[in-house]
């Protein structure tokens, strides 16, 4: 891969270096705001197999209790791979679905209570705000379901490597994005 470097020595001249299969950039992408423009670019580069050397050994070997060196866990300064974004989105949509369940149960209640309440619900669901909410719920639910299916596939041992995880996360994001567009077409 062009621009990558293996050792600490050429860190200054290289565009990024690799640790544990992830790419790290020297300066530009080390801020929280950078996730917006760095992450999409990174999504389309497949990680190479990790190269173990002095530089990345610390990231590959899990620190033990004897290891007292400070560990940086500030997510704002750590570049995350696409798999991390897929996992975070799975959690966020899961919490959203918990709240959306209230609206869905309310709609189920209204749709079955009487013919009058069914018609009233149908009228409410034609408003622009309701359509936006419906689209949001459908898209979040679809993403969560697709990411869940990815989990079930990975439980069978398929796509458990870093490379497989990246490909799986990409498939989920692409499919969910397509589904969100289709939900939009169906609703409006």
């Amino acid at each position: 891969m062009m621009g990558g470097c293996q050792t600490n020595a050429d860190r200054r001249s290289c565009q990024f270096w690799r640790v544990n299969g992830f790419q790290f950039r020297p300066t530009n992408c080390n801020q929280l705001s950078a996730h917006l423009y760095c992450a999409p670019l990174r999504f389309w580069r497949l990680p190479d197999l990790p190269v173990v050397n002095e530089t990345n050994l610390r990231a590959i070997v899990r620190p033990t209790s004897k290891d007292t060196r400070p560990v940086n866990l500030d997510l704002g300064t750590i570049q995350l791979p696409v798999t991390a974004y897929a996992s975070i989105a799975h959690r966020v949509t899961g919490v959203l679905n918990f709240f959306a369940s209230f609206l869905l149960l309310w709609a189920l209640d209204r749709s079955l209570a009487s013919e009058a309440s069914f018609d009233a619900l149908a009228a409410v669901l034609t408003s622009p705000v309701s359509k936006l909410v419906m689209w949001g719920i459908a898209s979040a639910l679809t993403y969560h379901a697709l990411a869940g299916v990815k989990h079930l596939v990975m439980d069978t041992g398929v796509g458990e490597t870093m490379r497989g995880g990246v490909i799986g996360a990409r498939i989920v994001f692409a499919t969910a994005l397509t589904a969100a567009v289709l939900w939009g077409v169906a609703i409006w």
Binding site: R91, F98, S101, L105, V149, H151, D155
Partner: protein, 119 residues
């Protein structure tokens, strides 16, 4: 562990299994509902669907699955982010209150579904 006492089934292994079984039930249920909504839905056909015993049982199964699945999922989120490390000394209190609120809401969801389906 302070946190495992609020987990759904006390052990991670059975939580893991329950999360997967309930996910399949919920996926099947939502696919059925989506399929129904694809066609033209009117009040008569919609109520006729929910009058059938298998649909009542399936809806109740989905509601129970939703409660278990959400409990496990929210517990994972709460024990990761609503902690003393993330929020300071009040972290544990905030987590337990959130867990209690979520649990009550989920019990309410299940009761609500029972009322909707059998009334």
């Amino acid at each position: 562990m302070v946190t495992s006492v609020t987990s759904f089934s006390r052990t991670g292994l059975s939580d893991w299994l329950i999360q997967r079984v309930t996910s399949v039930i919920l996926l099947a249920y939502f696919l059925l509902i989506a399929y129904q909504l694809m066609g033209s839905v009117d009040y008569t056909s919609w109520t006729r669907l929910f009058e059938q015993t298998w649909m009542k049982v399936f809806t109740l199964m989905a509601a129970l699955s939703l409660a278990a699945h959400s409990w496990i999922g929210l517990w994972s989120v709460f024990t990761d982010y609503l902690t003393e490390r993330m929020l300071g000394p009040k972290g544990n209190v905030i987590r337990l209150v959130s867990q209690l609120g979520a649990s009550l809401a989920l019990v309410g969801y299940v009761i609500w579904v029972v009322v909707i389906i059998w009334s």
